[in-house]
Amino acid sequence: MQAIREVSFQIEREEYVAVTGPSGSGKSTLLYLACGLDRADTGTVRFAGTAPKSPAEWTRLRSTQIGFVFQTFQLIAGLTAVENVELPMMGVVASERERSKRAAALLERIGLGSRANHRIADLSGGEAQRVAIARALANSPSVILADEPTGNLDSHTTAQILSLLEDVRKDHRVTLVMVTHDAQIAERATRVIHLLDGKVAGEERRREPA
């Protein structure tokens, strides 16, 4: 079974793209391919004009250029919020003190400064997803990929998380690609790619609000 077939498009720097479609349309698979978490049987994925040739190159990109936000947060329960945010910095930022300082600053930026030393199990769903967003920003990436980031959240928290992602995109000038099955959420993006049965079924562009 092919999750994705004959999909070809280009995403520009600092674009805000929503990938939408029904369940099983290949949205999440597309996102995983876009950052090397999975490997395409055929075709090429380019990042900044270059096609990474090996898993090691993709690992380096995910470490420095790409931040990923999962639907199920994918935080390490036994660690605190700040420790989770520090994780991507290991191997990139040598000083433990510097890592801790940057992680704390990121959590402060997203409104969780006071919860930095709380274990993940003590946080609400919305707080946990904020920590995941902070982790995705840990190494100042140029791209954030978010796979149904609000899929497990209530409507109030969803709105908060979406606003946070959009603010982060503007403040840090990152490209944001978000997978969602929710049309209303997709409407917030400046470009929407519709997938159906693994293929691009349509595309819309909107003007960026001032």
Partner: protein, 358 residues
């Protein structure tokens, strides 16, 4: 809980290694101390004999050996191990009048047996303490009664737990009149290694039926010490192999249970080498916990074992700080190796396979 049990397993392996190798080294050390106590430079034993104690040499060879240039002194000896009524084992040694053994023996109580006295013995201090004997008391050896004439404090644990008597007395007891187990030879310039080699070669050429072993090498020549050493290392290797399997099993299970976590680390940009280092480090941490347990429980455990008369009679472990450090290093290496395969396996899978828990 699983990690604690794994550490306990590793600790048991380490304790075994310390005990077994410590005992083996203790025996080696005792043999060396015995040679040093006697002032022996070279020991002559029968060529081809596996166990020195059972070998029989003609006592008359001593006179011929003494005439070889460079030889200053020759002591003839015969030995055997005997069970005492108390359950202790004791080494019996018969020493010739000639050669200086009796004149240099440090008597701490009583006196040595007279030259013609065939039922008088000197016992080592440790044996005297264990049996509660003092000069004038009797002691049963191989069904015969002997009289303790003196007590001697010896540096070597073997000698300190031995019964020393005139050569003729032990030859009679063992029914080996005119026979000895070996000759202890002193040369003129033992500090000169070239001279030692020269005299040894001369002796070997003159007495081809004998083997001449430098006293420092004696521990490697005796079958019992070689056997103990081999058994110690063989058993320790088995124990370490078991510890390796324990660590491997624990970490394999841990990696399987943490596939999502490992997948996440890969997803956020951790290099495979970092993931491998993390798992190997976990293995080493487990091993160091085991090492602490092994040393903490192993050393007192050894002391407990020594209280058993059958064990403590001859065996005094030599557990040095160097041996402890070497053993800990071995155990840490086992921990690291045990983590390598699970770590390698974890990094072979694609991050999404791991994240999905496949």
């Amino acid at each position: 809980m699983r990690s604690i049990l794994t550490a306990a397993g590793i600790g048991a392996a380490l304790a075994s290694l310390l005990a077994l190798v410590g005992f083996s080294r203790g025996v080696d050390r005792a043999v060396v101390l015995t040679m040093e106590d006697r002032g022996t430079d070279i020991v002559a034993v029968k060529k081809g004999s596996v166990e020195i104690l059972t070998a029989v040499l003609d006592e008359g060879l001593a006179g011929r050996i003494r005439r070889v240039p460079g030889v200053v002194n020759v002591m003839s000896s015969i030995g055997d191990v005997v069970d005492l009524e108390s359950g202790e084992m004791a080494y019996m040694a018969g020493w010739s009048e000639e050669g200086g053994f009796w004149s240099t023996l440090a008597i701490t109580a009583g006196k040595r047996p007279d030259p013609g006295e065939i039922d008088g013995v000197v016992i080592g201090q440790a044996l005297a303490d264990a049996l509660g004997k003092k000069p004038g008391d009797s002691i049963e050896l191989s069904g015969q009664t002997f009289r303790v004439t003196g007590i001697s404090k010896q540096a070597s644990v073997i000698d300190d737990r031995s019964v020393m008597m005139p050569l003729a007395a032990l030859q009679k007891l063992l029914d080996r009149e005119g026979k000895v187990s070996g000759f202890h030879i002193r040369i003129d310039r033992p500090e000169d290694s070239a001279r030692l080699g020269e005299v040894r070669n001369r002796l070997a050429a003159e007495f081809p039926e004998l083997v001449f072993v430098e006293s420092s090498e004696m521990a490697n020549h005796a079958a019992i010490t070689n056997l103990l050493r081999s058994m110690a290392w063989a058993s320790s290797t088995i124990a370490l192999a078991m510890a390796f399997v324990i660590v491997l099993n624990t970490l394999l299970m841990a990696v399987m249970e943490r596939t999502r976590e490992i997948g996440l680390l890969a997803a956020i940009g951790w290099k495979p080498s970092r993931v491998i280092a993390m798992i190997v480090l976990e293995g080493m941490l487990m091993a160091s916990g085991g090492a602490l347990l092994g040393v903490g429980a192993g050393l007192p455990g050894l002391k407990l074992m020594m209280m058993h008369p059958q064990i403590g009679s001859f065996l005094q472990p030599e557990v040095t700080p160097v041996l402890v450090l070497q053993s800990v290093a071995l155990v840490l290496a086992v921990g690291a190796l045990g983590g390598l395969y699970p770590a390698w396996r974890a990094t072979r899978m694609r991050p999404m396979e791991l994240l999905r828990g496949e």
